[in-house]
């Protein structure tokens, strides 16, 4: 196995470098996936039928909190990778734990928001607007949930094995995924919530 010591640990073998590049290609496909969901939402968002409209159900406070939690978790995830490159395991684990807790907080608020909507009579079946809204938000939320499980698994493995070519590579790829979810959220925050409330 050819190992290039001049690169950060997660890039050192050719296989790992290819895995990172492969993940970027996957993120390209994710961009297209979320674009189709945004396209559906933009087409249907005024079609609320007899159900509530966007301005009637959106509340800015929980959304701002969600934005803050996810932005901060993206930041701490970047710090975790930075700590990993310095070879510092304890700060890495701490930052990863903070990242996942903030992600969990985000998910909690989103679930609370969904429950509130349903109590207000805004369900997946109510109108075209709500179907497209729940599918867009739900797909993002499902990605965050998946990220929480994935991140926890990586933390357990890093705790056991320390920083190896494998664990460093997995952690780095997880960080790309997590930052990407933050990018998607920025667009949901701007073009679903803020646009819906203005």
């Amino acid at each position: 196995m050819k190992i290039d010591k001049t690169l950060p640990l997660e890039y050192q073998t050719e296989e790992n470098s290819n895995r990172i590049f492969g993940f970027w290609i996957f993120l390209g496909a994710e961009i297209v996936l979320f674009s189709t969901l945004f396209a559906v939402y933009f087409t249907l968002w005024t079609r609320s039928g007899t159900g509530p409209s966007a301005a009637e159900i959106f509340q800015i406070k929980p959304v701002l909190l969600e934005t803050f939690l996810l932005l901060t978790s993206s930041f701490t995830c970047g710090l975790a990778i930075h700590a990993m490159r310095l070879g510092m395991k304890k700060p890495f684990m701490t930052f990863m734990a903070i990242t996942l807790l903030l992600g969990l907080g985000f998910l909690g608020i989103e679930i609370y928001e969904f429950v509130t909507y349903v109590h207000e009579g805004a369900t997946l079946q109510t109108s075209a607007f709500l179907s497209s809204l729940f599918v867009l938000l739900g797909t993002h939320g499902a990605h965050v949930t998946m990220g929480l499980l994935w991140g926890s698994g990586i933390m357990i493995q890093t705790q056991r094995e320390g920083f190896t070519h494998d664990t460093a590579n997995k952690s780095f790829i997880f960080s790309l995924y997590w930052h990407f979810l933050d990018v998607v959220w920025i667009f949901i925050f701007s073009f679903v919530y803020l646009k819906g409330l203005m």
């Binding site: 990172i20 970027w24 961009i31 674009s35 933009f42 930041f75 970047g78 930052h179 701007s190 646009k195």
Partner: protein, 95 residues
């Protein structure tokens, strides 16, 4: 402790918080639809760039740099064609 908080990441974080607050202006003040959408588009684009360059370091993998940029540019192209193509046929085309 200080080495754990690289300036590039801290700046990126501060930028994204500021941009989120700026975007909030569209619901705080009354403004035309065009102005509001322009503000949202600019803020979102800069925030996405902050994540991509300051947190994800899209430019750091020297051997795959060109392929990385091509891939993301192509994905954005397909995504934008999907969104604006849909808007064009489903919304604007029937005005």
């Amino acid at each position: 402790m200080k080495q754990l908080f690289p300036i590039r990441h801290v700046m990126g974080y501060v930028f994204s918080l500021i941009l989120s607050v700026v975007a909030l202006a569209v619901i705080v003040w009354d403004m035309s639809f065009t102005t509001a959408i322009t503000i949202l588009l600019i803020c979102a684009a800069i925030q996405a760039a902050v994540q991509l360059f300051m947190f994800m370091h899209i430019d750091e993998d020297k051997s795959n740099k060109a392929s990385n940029y091509t891939n993301i540019a192509y994905a954005l192209f397909v995504g934008l064609v999907t969104i604006f193509g849909t808007l064009f046929t489903m919304i604007w085309g029937y005005l």
